[in-house]
Symmetry: C2
């Protein structure tokens, strides 16, 4: 059994309206020391199996087919055996 975290970030230059609005709201609340806010989405998956390389390949495929949009996203995969 593996626990896999897929961190999905927006590529540089892609606008992050949720991050921008969060930053604005923090400033309105008086937290004016905050200079940047970005959002990251993470999928935390549990995957059955014994072969870490196979799991890694499968997760790469999941990213390409469903989890991420390669036009706007970068992603990182962390795999931990359970």
């Amino acid at each position: 059994m593996f626990e896999v975290k897929v961190k999905i970030m927006l590529k540089k230059g892609i606008s992050d309206p949720e991050g921008a609005n969060t930053l604005k709201a923090l400033h309105l609340l008086g937290f004016d020391k905050v200079t940047d806010a970005k959002t990251i989405r993470t999928f935390d998956l549990l995957i059955e199996g014994t072969d870490k390389n196979k799991v890694k390949n499968d997760v790469e495929k999941m990213c390409q087919r469903l989890l991420t949009n390669p036009v706007i996203h970068n992603y990182e995969i962390e795999i931990e055996e359970k």
Copy 2:
């Protein structure tokens, strides 16, 4: 300057429709070894300052006032000096 990551997870027992739908879609695509999918939202903040404890206190306040909903969310704060 500090880089602060606020990881926001749903509490146990709170339904995660995005995770559930992702799991369903992964199964439909043939990734049937995936047994669970959860979503985690992370805010990546840049905060000016020199006092780590003060930054930590401020981020706790941001979580309580804006970033999280204490009824449904747990959160973790990671602070790294830059």
